[in-house]
């Protein structure tokens, strides 16, 4: 079931109330919104700005600065492929190409079936068992193209 704009508004109201009075609340608010909705609806920018006494440009500037925040609804699961040096030393380029081919997308894209959004990561901290892939919060090490197929199949059926 897709959440309606009214549901989103109610979620934002609650999150803003929960963070009222906290020092430096913008990032925690943005995290809370994205945790619950999967993304930060552009329509929320003005309301967050008003609540924090910031300009819309400032809020937009923060959202667009950080790679993690997104303003479009992602697929059901987000696949992060690490492309940093330790993973490169273990041929993550093959895993990366395989992920793009299999899902039929470039980084930032969502597979046609709406299941996976593919994102790059710059180190997931699993550098002694590279290449590394993270799906939502689940981490996988030594991810060869073959292992990636098995992992994606597993998630596709969840």
């Amino acid at each position: 079931m897709t959440a309606t704009a009214t549901d989103h508004d109610a979620t934002l109201d609650r999150i803003l109330a929960e963070h009222a009075g906290r020092p430096g609340p913008l990032l925690p608010i943005l995290h809370a919104v994205q945790d619950e909705l999967g993304f930060i609806p552009p329509a929320h920018v003005a309301r967050i700005a008003e609540a924090l006494n910031l300009s819309r440009a400032e809020v937009h500037g923060v959202i667009s600065f950080y790679h993690y925040f997104r303003t479009h609804e992602p697929g059901r699961h987000v696949v992060h492929v690490c492309r940093a040096e330790a993973c490169q030393a273990m041929r993550c380029d093959q895993t990366e190409q395989h992920a793009k081919r299999t899902l039929g997308v470039e980084y930032g894209g969502t597979s046609a079936d709406g299941v996976f959004t593919l994102e790059p990561a710059y180190c997931l901290g699993n550098c002694a068992a590279a290449p590394t892939v993270m799906i939502d919060e689940k981490l996988y090490g030594r991810v060869t193209p073959e292992r990636l197929d098995a992992i994606l199949d597993d998630w596709r059926n969840r």
């Binding site: 913008l26 923060v62 040096e85 710059y122 180190c123 901290g125 002694a128 068992a129 590394t132």
Partner: protein
């Protein structure tokens, strides 16, 4: 009480199936009618043996088996795993393995041994002894102890921790802060993550001591969002410490307050730079600040702020417990104490090795690392993350020491070592360094923001063989501008991997492809 079993909850162990192994052990025990007490612990650091399972034998010794992937569990249990029987995966006591026995584990002493979020376990293994001593000292005495220990910032900049603390102590302000930089973004590094997942109370203790030392009552741990597991462990540990009176308005009945909160980053490498991190904590774009003023004078919300890396803060409890001289007696030259070194990339035995400064790269790569995972010769290693130099075999005998590394134009940084075999294309690695800088630049200064993109283009032309000599000269000139003209280390140090690749592996830049 059944047989005691220990399985890691560390993210690296989970990435290799530790959760599934733990579940399979429970299923196998139930099927056998065997009662077991399974504790999830941190990782012992031997990532190639994960998932590692330790079984306490009749004599109370922990016998390790690894790697125990979930599908092997039923057979292993049938063959006597719960009785600590012999089998092909049995490696014996971890403490007896040369890889482990040769280490000097001070900061990581408890990691892998204890339930990371149990205050009782922590206390039983010497936890909070440093805090108890700190509570008997004045702020100035605590600062003096840290200063005398010789501890330098383990995040990478190696600035003396005690000097930062002294500066904050000297400020007069109603509100001071302690901020932990847990934005461990360097590729090939994971010691912060392992510490936070395996012994988060050690970091909590270090931060409380820092607060007592300078009169700060609020601490923030700025954690990168790529580390959700560490976030869970930290929040559990903080709640447990608060419940037992180690955090809150009256720390251990001292009348002094200290509170702690975890704040999540949002995927910006630049937040590892301390002033960018402070901007981010304040809810802004993480643009690097001009210095002065130093964060110790005007830091978070404009107030005096201690900002230290995870390992720096987590090294403080043992310094307070055992005294400055104990810690200072490890190491060489001006690099005192121990460094948790991370062996990563193409190595057979990757993982975490804590050693006193002075060990050579070659010992780390071959004696500990076991050479390459691929079986091919090692060609280059990058030490200190994406801004660290690439080092060739001819320099592998350099001892791990801040000054010795500086002398060869390299960087110890946060102690991450990424090894590459002879299939590596160093021109591509140089290109990646520029590309990474372009992706992660905060955009505030021009040499970094524009220079990195121009750098990618110049290296592309070199790799394509277009006017190679002129473009190589252009690359050197560009690197010089970035190094001297950038506001912080991102733009200022991206030239290190680029120029070291060019200097030590010129053939990769001159061959036709």
């Amino acid at each position: 009480m059944g047989v005691r079993i220990y399985v890691s909850r560390d993210a690296a162990a989970q990435a290799l199936g530790a959760d599934e192994t733990a579940a399979a052990l429970q299923v196998a025990a139930a099927a056998k009618g065997q009662s077991i007490a399974l504790t999830r612990v941190g990782s012992r650091g031997m990532v190639w043996l994960e998932p590692l399972v330790e079984v306490e034998d009749a004599a109370g010794k922990r016998i390790a088996y690894g790697p125990v992937t979930p599908e092997l569990v039923p057979d292993l249990v049938r063959a006597g795993l719960f009785e600590a029987a012999s089998n092909t995966l049995r490696v014996g006591r971890v403490e007896d393995l040369p890889w482990f026995a040769k280490q000097e584990r001070l900061t990581f002493a408890r990691v892998g041994l204890i339930d990371p979020v149990s205050v009782d376990d922590y206390l039983a293994h010497g936890g909070f002894a440093g805090l108890r001593r700190a509570l008997t000292l004045t702020g100035a005495e605590i600062v003096h102890e840290v200063l005398e220990s010789g501890l330098r910032g383990r995040g990478g900049a190696a600035f003396p921790t005690g000097i930062k603390w002294r500066t904050v102590l000297e400020q007069h302000s109603p509100q001071k802060y302690v901020v932990c930089n847990a934005d461990e973004g360097d590729s090939g590094t994971f010691s912060d993550r392992m510490l936070m997942e395996g012994d988060p109370l050690c970091l909590v203790e270090g931060m409380i001591i820092a607060g007592l030392a300078v009169g700060a009552t609020m601490g923030y741990i700025y954690l990168r969002c790529e580390y959700p597991h560490a976030g869970h462990a930290l929040r559990e540990a903080i709640a447990a410490a608060r419940e037992r009176g180690f955090l809150g308005p009256d720390v251990c009945g001292s009348g002094k307050a200290f509170e702690l909160e975890v704040r999540m980053g949002a995927g910006a490498y630049i937040c590892g730079e301390e002033t960018a991190l402070l901007e981010s904590l304040e809810g802004k774009r993480a643009e690097v600040r001009y210095r002065p003023p130093l964060p110790a004078i005007k830091g978070l919300f404009g107030q005096p702020t201690i900002i230290n890396n995870v390992i720096s803060l987590a090294s403080v409890p043992i310094i307070l417990e055992r005294g400055a001289a104990f810690y200072r007696d490890y190491g060489m030259g001006r690099s005192r104490g121990t460094l948790p070194i991370q062996l990563a990339g193409n190595l057979r035995h990757g993982g975490l090795v804590e050693k006193a400064f002075g060990i050579t790269l070659r010992e780390l790569l071959y004696d500990f690392g076991g050479g390459s995972a691929s079986g091919r010769p090692l060609r280059a290693v990058q030490v200190g993350g994406p801004l660290g130099a690439y080092i060739p075999d001819s320099q592998f005998d350099t001892p791990l020491d801040y000054e010795a590394f500086t002398a060869i134009g390299a960087l110890v940084g946060h102690g991450g070592i990424v090894a590459f075999d002879d299939t590596v294309d160093m021109a591509r690695m140089a290109r990646y360094a520029m590309e990474f800088c372009a992706v992660e630049s905060c955009g505030k200064c021009t040499p970094c923001r524009i220079g990195s993109t121009r750098g990618v283009e110049v290296i592309d032309r070199i790799m394509a063989g277009k006017d190679r000599q002129a473009n190589l000269a252009q690359l050197e000139s560009l690197c010089e501008t970035m190094q001297h003209g950038s506001l912080c280390g991102l733009g200022g140090m991206t030239p290190f991997p680029v120029m070291s690749a060019l200097k030590h592996f010129p053939v990769d830049f001159s061959r036709d492809r």
